[in-house]
Symmetry: C2
Subunit: 193 residues, 2 copies
């Protein structure tokens, strides 16, 4: 059962009581997502907070010219969602789409709030998660401001070498903020050097 991996994930951070385990088991819903299937589209309200058990999804925005800009790749044991839309119940500006066939566990906003109110331990767990995500985005802002595309690409490779085999260069280009064509010239330059 995929729910076991979520229990295991939480226990790795702070041990859960039987009662908490029970709440998690009854309020997270398993779901399988096909490749190219969406679990969130622009204009929709983000109904779920999503934990990835297996597979890979991307969180991205489509700009006014129709171009996609990747904010996040969500792999095994990570969370994905548009938190702003999720908590405030406002229309999302983002998309979440599966890059591979994936299995996920989802909780509704109501139940997520109930989780916090009933078991404050989860305030702590999700506080730490949010802090770490914030720190990661800070690094990314600094990198976008201060580094060249080549530096961003090599930093990406260093930080996420596992993704190289799983994700196309088109997706990586969109994540680091360059066109696929220019990423190609970067890659050529690197292999020559």
């Amino acid at each position: 059962m995929s729910i076991e991996s979520l229990i295991h994930y939480f226990n790795n951070k702070i041990d859960l009581t039987p009662e908490e385990i029970n709440f998690v088991k009854t309020n997270f819903q398993a779901r399988t997502i096909k490749r190219r299937q969406f679990i969130l589209q622009e204009g929709d309200i983000c109904k779920f907070n999503t934990f990835v058990v297996e597979g890979c999804l991307k969180l991205y925005k489509v700009d006014e010219h129709g171009k996609e800009h990747n904010l996040q790749f969500a792999l095994e044991d990570s969370w994905v969602g548009d938190l702003e839309s999720f908590y405030k119940e406002t229309p999302s500006q983002l998309y979440i789409e599966a890059l591979e066939k994936s299995t996920v566990l989802q909780i509704t906003q109501k139940k997520q709030i109930e989780l916090y109110l009933s078991y404050p331990k989860f305030d702590r767990i999700f506080r730490v998660l949010a802090e770490n995500a914030m720190i990661a985005y800070q690094h990314r802002v600094l990198q976008n401001i201060s580094s060249t595309a080549e530096e961003r690409y090599t930093a990406f490779l260093k930080k996420s070498p596992q993704l190289l085999n799983r994700i196309s260069n088109v997706q990586i280009a969109s994540y680091i903020g360059v066109t696929p064509e220019f990423l190609s010239t970067i890659r050529k330059k690197i292999t020559l050097a």
Copy 2:
């Protein structure tokens, strides 16, 4: 007393008990910072989480060419610190410097942890703060990837018009990720249009 503004700030989110108020009063330390004074420098461990009562500070990085890149302006009723360095007790890569004479309230890492352990309410408060900060940085990453410098500047003006009178264009340029020279040509173009 400046501590009252912090109590008020917390009460605006979730009402504090007398005991919690007492903990806050005894564990946050007031401090005044002169203009151009640092409360964090690269290489140091970030010893404090800082609440700004009055004034304005900037959080920034200096790159290998000696250029500054602003991550955050911290005004009244906001928090500033290098959370990564603060929690992990690792050397910081960032600077925090006062842009104006400021008064702040600071808590040490030990006491911040104690705050969470003794009063889980603060896990919730800081979870929400971290989530909101994360969302703001997501927007900034998307903007850096998908918008021109002119769009970033007008978005900045729209979101933070109060800052125009308080902060030099050099600082704003560093925040939106352009050179002061180019910001100047952007501003000229806008006033003409």
